[in-house]
């Protein structure tokens, strides 16, 4: 099976990269022209300069950057990401809470866009140049160029404002205590953001699957299979499906970065309380600890997608499995 050695080296490479990304995020955020002290105590405080200096010393704001980074990293390993200025609560707790909300949204749209996109792509490939194929192709080529947040706004206008079928936003009815929120409420509020994110992420899968289907259907080995007397169903099952399914799945995993971006935008449009809305809130309030925590989580998220994609390539592609083509 898959070589253990290359799996380990792949993981090591990703861990080093993750470390570098956290350094990058740390440097970017700490060099912002925002004084963490001012953003914490507010601009209208009557604190004397001496007292400010004392707090700065206590927080280690005057230490050199590398030292601050390692202090942060040390706390990170103890599960302490600091205190959020915006929400006045530990960052780890907020991220945990928000990420659960976002991950539900992302999993739903990811799975739906993958499955529906694949089926539609196969169908379009099979009936190339039919009316259905042309309509789907035009729609999704157009959607690929449409900004996610604009699409969200349009969907919101049509389904929530004009038709009134769905709530305007949020994850639960306003004014309802958290304990009273039913699963039905949650699903009801999830539909529109999930729908937006699904159709945004579906374009790539459809167009890829469609093109791949057409390419394979014209290949010599399919022609040979046909001359051997295989039926359409057999050809689809034995040759086409096998050759498309795995790259399509890998493509889905490799798209985690775009999925995250789309999620952040969709959440902001629908004011869905997830990581995306937390990111904008954090950056607007110069909430350095929360912003750092979110960057780290998003980096881990993208990495796990890429790692799975890389492993899948290795597991399913016999050439890479044998270690010949992997140069």
């Amino acid at each position: 099976m898959f070589k253990k050695k290359s799996l380990v080296s792949e993981i090591i490479r990703l861990v080093i990269l993750l470390f570098a990304v956290s350094v990058l995020a740390f440097v970017l955020i700490t060099s912002a022209p925002i004084d963490p002290l001012t953003s914490y105590i507010g601009t209208e405080s009557t604190l004397s300069p001496e007292a400010r200096q004392e707090i700065a010393n206590y927080w280690g704001l005057n230490d050199p950057l590398p030292q601050r980074f390692f202090t942060w990293l040390g706390h990170l390993f103890h599960g302490d990401l600091g205190q959020s200025i915006t929400y006045k609560r530990p960052v780890a707790a907020i991220i945990g809470e928000r990420f659960t909300m976002s991950i539900i949204l992302m999993i739903v749209s990811w799975v739906l866009s993958g499955i529906i996109g694949f089926i539609l792509g196969m169908f379009c490939g099979k009936h190339e140049n039919s009316v259905f194929d042309r309509i789907i192709k035009t729609i999704f080529l157009g959607l690929k160029s449409a900004p996610t947040y604009w699409l969200g706004l349009i969907i919101l206008t049509v389904f929530a404002v004009l038709l009134g079928w769905f709530p305007i936003g949020m994850a639960a009815p306003i004014g309802k205590a958290a304990t009273d929120v039913t699963l039905g409420d949650r699903i009801y509020h999830l539909i529109l953001p999930a729908f937006t994110l699904t159709i945004v992420s579906m374009g790539d899968v459809i167009l890829y699957t469609r093109q791949k289907y057409i390419d394979i259907a014209r290949s010599d080995y399919v022609l040979y299979a046909r001359t051997r007397g295989e039926t359409d169903g057999q050809i689809t099952r034995r040759h086409i499906l096998r050759n498309i399914a795995l790259p399509a799945i890998t493509l889905q995993f490799a798209s985690f970065s775009e999925l995250f971006g789309g999620m952040a935008l969709a959440e902001n449009v629908f004011s869905y309380p997830g990581i995306g809305t937390a990111t904008t809130a954090a950056a607007l309030n110069a909430d350095v600890p929360l912003l750092l925590g979110i960057s780290l989580v998003s980096a881990v998220f993208v990495f796990s997608g890429n790692l799975i994609a890389n492993i899948l390539y290795g597991v399913f592609d016999p050439r890479i499995r044998e270690g010949k083509a992997h140069a």
């Binding site: 990269l17 970017l28 947040y149 902001n268």
Partner: protein, 281 residues
């Protein structure tokens, strides 16, 4: 788009493609120049005209301050294009330098470049844009630099791949064997081969930049509120959507969508024309 397509046409594919590309280019350049010429009084505040739906006088309607949405959209789009041009120019230069360096020198240079590409792709693009723009204090400067320094990775990979391919081709190997220096080979063979790829890459990078700029602006980390950028317009539209002011969101978004599709169209068209397999159909 493919060769099995049997249909009699008056124009052959090449001419038809050229004509669409020219129309797209004229449209985009037109919007750009028009936007630059529009003065502030075309979309000045006028409280007498609040929330007018689209009409012959105000094609896209007016907003909560009575500003004409049509002119604001045009102005916003041309602003986006300016930022797009600057950031694409910077990004593509980074990409071509890094791509050629990593392919020509190989070894540790290649490793470093690949690593930088991975690093840049390690964070979700949107998060990276927000962080850089945030660090530079948002505004025009922040978003332009953020867009400029984050759009090179995919193009770097593409150029690296192309250079590697030319370098390993027989005619280049033959040129080396005949005693041509690296420089001579680079100027005579590699650069002419890379240029078309480069131009296609640049055109296709453009819509990406514009989309990202508007998304970051929409979230409030890009262009400032008082500028008529598409992102700002749509962010404002969001606050009025509950009251049914649909035109505030629909038209500016469609303008952006058309611009992006046209850029893609020109890029794909160039790709088809410059590729000898599809160029002569």
């Amino acid at each position: 788009m493919h060769k099995y397509h049997k249909k009699s046409r008056i124009l052959n594919k090449r001419v038809a493609l050229l004509i669409t590309m020219i129309i797209a280019a004229v449209y985009l350049v037109g919007i750009f120049i028009w936007g630059c010429c529009i003065g502030e009084d075309s979309y000045a505040v006028n409280f007498g005209n609040k929330f007018l739906p689209p009409s012959a006088e105000h094609w896209f309607g007016t907003d909560n301050l009575g500003r004409d949405m049509f002119f604001r959209s045009i102005k916003g789009l041309s602003l986006s294009m300016v930022i797009g041009v600057i950031s694409v120019a910077i990004s593509s230069v980074i990409a071509i330098v890094m791509g050629i360096l990593s392919a020509v020198f190989g070894g540790w240079v290649d490793k470093v470049v690949n690593w930088a590409v991975d690093l840049c792709m390690g964070l979700p693009h949107l998060v990276l844009l927000i962080l850089i723009s945030f660090m530079l204090g948002k505004g025009v400067f922040g978003i332009t630099i953020a867009a400029a320094v984050t759009h090179w990775p995919s193009m770097t990979r593409m150029i690296r791949q192309e250079v590697l391919q030319v370098r390993n081709s027989q005619y280049v190997q033959a040129a080396y064997k005949m005693g041509r220096s690296r420089w001579q080979v680079a100027i005579k063979h590699i650069i002419p081969h890379i240029l078309p790829v480069y131009f296609i890459g640049v055109t296709l990078l453009f819509p990406h930049c514009i989309m990202h700029e508007s998304a970051v602006t929409f979230l409030g980390f890009g262009l400032p509120r008082e500028m008529p950028a598409i992102g700002v317009i749509l962010a404002e539209a969001m606050t009025h959507i509950v009251t049914g002011k649909w035109w505030l969101a629909v038209f500016p978004g469609i303008m952006l969508l058309i611009a992006v599709i046209f850029f893609d169209l020109i890029g794909e068209g160039l790709k088809n024309l410059l590729n000898p397999h599809t160029g002569n159909e």
